[in-house]
Amino acid sequence: MNSGRWLRWVWPTVPIAGALVVTSLLLILFGAAPLEAFQAMYDGAFGDQSKTLSVLAFWVPLLLASTGLLVTFRAGLWNIGIEGQIVMGAIAASWVALSVEAPSAVLISLEIVAAMLAGALWAALSAVLKTRGKVHEIFSGLALNGIAIILTNYLISGPWQPPEGGSFRGTQPFQPAALLSLYENSRFSPLSLLLAVIAFILVVVALRGTFWGLKLKAIGQNLRSAFLLGVSSEREMILAMMFCGALAGLGGGVRTLSWFDSLRQSISGGIGFTALLVVMLSNYNMFLVPPIAFFFSMVLRGSLTLQLRTQLHSSLGGILTELLVLFVLLFGDWNKIGLFRKKEDDG
C-alpha cells in the first residue's frame, strides 16, 4: 500500500517529465543540445529588460482570455470561439481608433468599452445559437472564428488599408492618442496589466463568492439537477459566454493598441487557442491560471530567441506546451488509467 501512495504523489510529474523528454529528443534530432536550447529559451524570456517586458506584454491578453475561459468552462461550455471574440474586440477598438477624435484618455476608455462590448456580443451569438438553436458551441465557435478572420482580412485590405496601398499585413497605423501608453521602449502597457489583474479578481470573486458563480458550477456539473433546484440554464449560459467574450475582446483590444499599432492580419496570433490550453493544463483551477499563462508566455516568447540562436523553428515552444497538455490529459489522471482502483463507495 505504501508504494501505491508514493506512486500517487509522484505521478503528476510523469507527464511533465515526458513532455520535457520528448522535446529534448526533438532538439537532439535536429542537432541541438537540449540544455543549450532551454537556456536559450530562458534567455529569450528573461535575458534583458526588453525581453522580460515582452513576456509580460504577451502574458496580459493571454491572461485575460484564460480568465474568461474559467467562467465558460465552469458552466460546462467549450468556448472554442474565443479566438473570434478576441478578434472582434480588436476590430471594435480599431474602429474607435480610426473614427473618433478625442483626447487620449477618452479615446482609450471608449476603445476599451467597445472592445469588451464587441467580444461580449460575438460570444452571445454563440450562446444564443446554443440555447435557442441547439447548435453546439464548438461548431458555432469555429464558424464565428472563421467569419471574424475573414472580416479582419477584408478591413485590412479594403476600407482601412494604409494610405500607401494594401500590404495585407495590417491597417493604417492608429493615431498616437489612440494607443495605450507603453513602458519605455517596450510593447508592454502597464494599464493593460492593471486591467487584467482587475479582471482576474473579478472572476475569482464571481466564481467563488457570488450566487451566479454557484449557478454556473451547478449547470456545468448536472444540468438536470440544477434545473430542478431552480436554476435557469439558458440565461446563465448566455451571461457566462458574454463575460468571457468581454474579457477576450478586451485582450484583443489590448493587443491591437499596445503590442501593435494597428489591426493586423493575425491579430490574435492563436492566443485564444493557447488560452484554452492554459486552462486545460491548470485543470480549471483558478489560481493556477496566471502562473501557467505566464509559463506559456515565457516559453513562447523564449523560443523566438531559440530560433535566433540555434536556427531551429520557434514552434518548439508551442510544442513543449502542447505536449505538456497532451500528456497531462492522457496520463495525468491516475485513477482513470485504472492502474489503481478506487475503493467502491457503499451507497
Partner: protein, 324 residues
C-alpha cells in the same frame, strides 16, 4: 470570362477540392461510429509535412502518401484511445492534437520548406478526357483526384449498402441495439477512427504532393476545421459531403474572381459562405423544420424528400459506450 476559361476554372475547383473531399469522407466514417476527431487540422498538416518529407527522401510519391496515412491514423488513434480507454474528453484530446500538429509540422518540416519535390503526375484518362466539357473538368487530373471519386462512391456504398456499414452506423446511432446484435461497439469505433484518420492523412499528404508543390508552414490553411464543418453540412453522407466540398471550393474560386469585379462585397460574402451555411445547417438539424417540411410536401414526394433531407447526426456521437 469565356467558356474555355470557365471550364478551366471548374477544373481547378475540382482539383482544389480533392483533399477536402477525401478528408470529409474519412471524418464521416469516424463520426458515424460515434467519435469526433477534432484533431483534423493538425493531422492534415502533419500528414502534409511527413508525406512530403518521406516522398522527398525516397523519391517516391506513393511512400509519401503511405506515410501521411500512417500519421493520420496515429493522431486518430490517440483520440480514440484517450476517449474509449482513458475516458477523457474527445474534444480536449482532439483539440490539443490539432494545436500540436500545427506546431510539430512547422518544426519538423523546417528543413524542407519551399523546396521542390516529387509530385503526383498529371494523368488524363484516355478517351474520357476528350469528352467535351466533362472531360477537362473531371478526367484531366491526377490519380489522387480519381481516388477521391472512387472514395466517395465506395464510402457511400460501404455505409449504406453493406453489412459492415450497418454495424458501423449502429455504433454511432444506437450502440445498445448494435451490441444486442453482436456488434463490438468499441471495436467499430477504433477501426473506423483509424481508417478515417488514415484517409485524413492521405488528404493532408495530397496537399503537399499534388495541390501545392512542396511543403511550407500552415500550407493547408485551416482546411481541417473546414472539413469538420462540411461533414455536418453534408449531413454525414459522403455524396452530400462531396457537394459541400465542391461548393466550398467554388465559393473560394468565385471569391478570387469576383474580387476584381466587386472587391468590397465579394471577399467577405463568399469566404464566409461555408461558415454561415454550417451554422444554418446546424440550426436546421436542431429544429424540426425538415420534419415539418416533409409533412407538408405532396404524398408522393415525401419518402424521397425525407431521405434527401435526413441531416441529423448519429445519435450517439460523442458519447461513450460501456460494454457489460
Amino acid at each position: 470570362m469565356d467558356s474555355s476559361t470557365f471550364i478551366l476554372v471548374l477544373a481547378s475547383i475540382m482539383l482544389a477540392s480533392t483533399p477536402l473531399i477525401i478528408a470529409v469522407c474519412g471524418e464521416i466514417l469516424t463520426e458515424r461510429s460515434g467519435i469526433v476527431n477534432l484533431s483534423l487540422d493538425g493531422s492534415m498538416l502533419m500528414a502534409a509535412m511527413t508525406g512530403f518529407v518521406v516522398a522527398f527522401e525516397t523519391d517516391n510519391v506513393w511512400f509519401g502518401f503511405l506515410a501521411g496515412a500512417a500519421i493520420g491514423a496515429l493522431f486518430a488513434f490517440i483520440v480514440a484511445f484517450g476517449s474509449i480507454r482513458l475516458r477523457q474528453s474527445q474534444f480536449a484530446i482532439g483539440f490539443v492534437l490539432a494545436m500540436l500538429g500545427q506546431d510539430l509540422s512547422a518544426f519538423l518540416g523546417q528543413n524542407y520548406t519551399r523546396i521542390p519535390g516529387p509530385f503526383v503526375t498529371h494523368f488524363p484518362i484516355p478517351y474520357l478526357k476528350d469528352i467535351p466539357v466533362i472531360g477537362p473538368i473531371f478526367f484531366s487530373h491526377n490519380a489522387v483526384v480519381y481516388f477521391a471519386y472512387i472514395l466517395v462512391i465506395v464510402t457511400w456504398f460501404w455505409l449504406f449498402r453493406t453489412q459492415p456499414g450497418l454495424r458501423l452506423r449502429s455504433a454511432g446511432d444506437r450502440p445498445e441495439a448494435g451490441f444486442a446484435r453482436g456488434v463490438g461497439i468499441n471495436r467499430q469505433r477504433y477501426l473506423y477512427t483509424l481508417i478515417g484518420g488514415a484517409l485524413v492523412g492521405i488528404a493532408g499528404a495530397s496537399y503537399s504532393l499534388s495541390i501545392k508543390i512542396g511543403w511550407s508552414e500552415g500550407i493547408t490553411g485551416g482546411l481541417g476545421w473546414i472539413a469538420l464543418a462540411i461533414v455536418i453540412f453534408g449531413g454525414w453522407s459522403p455524396v452530400r459531403g462531396m457537394f459541400g466540398a465542391l461548393l466550398f471550393g467554388a465559393a473560394k474560386a468565385l471569391a478570387t474572381y469576383m474580387q476584381r469585379a466587386f472587391p468590397e462585397v465579394s471577399v467577405v460574402a463568399f469566404n464566409a459562405l461555408p461558415w454561415v451555411l454550417m451554422i444554418l445547417v446546424l440550426l436546421l438539424v436542431g429544429s424540426d423544420f425538415t420534419e415539418r417540411l416533409v409533412t407538408i410536401a405532396p404524398k408522393s414526394l415525401q419518402r424521397p424528400l425525407q431521405r434527401l433531407l435526413r441531416i441529423s447526426p448519429p445519435q450517439a456521437l460523442g458519447t461513450t459506450f460501456v460494454e457489460d
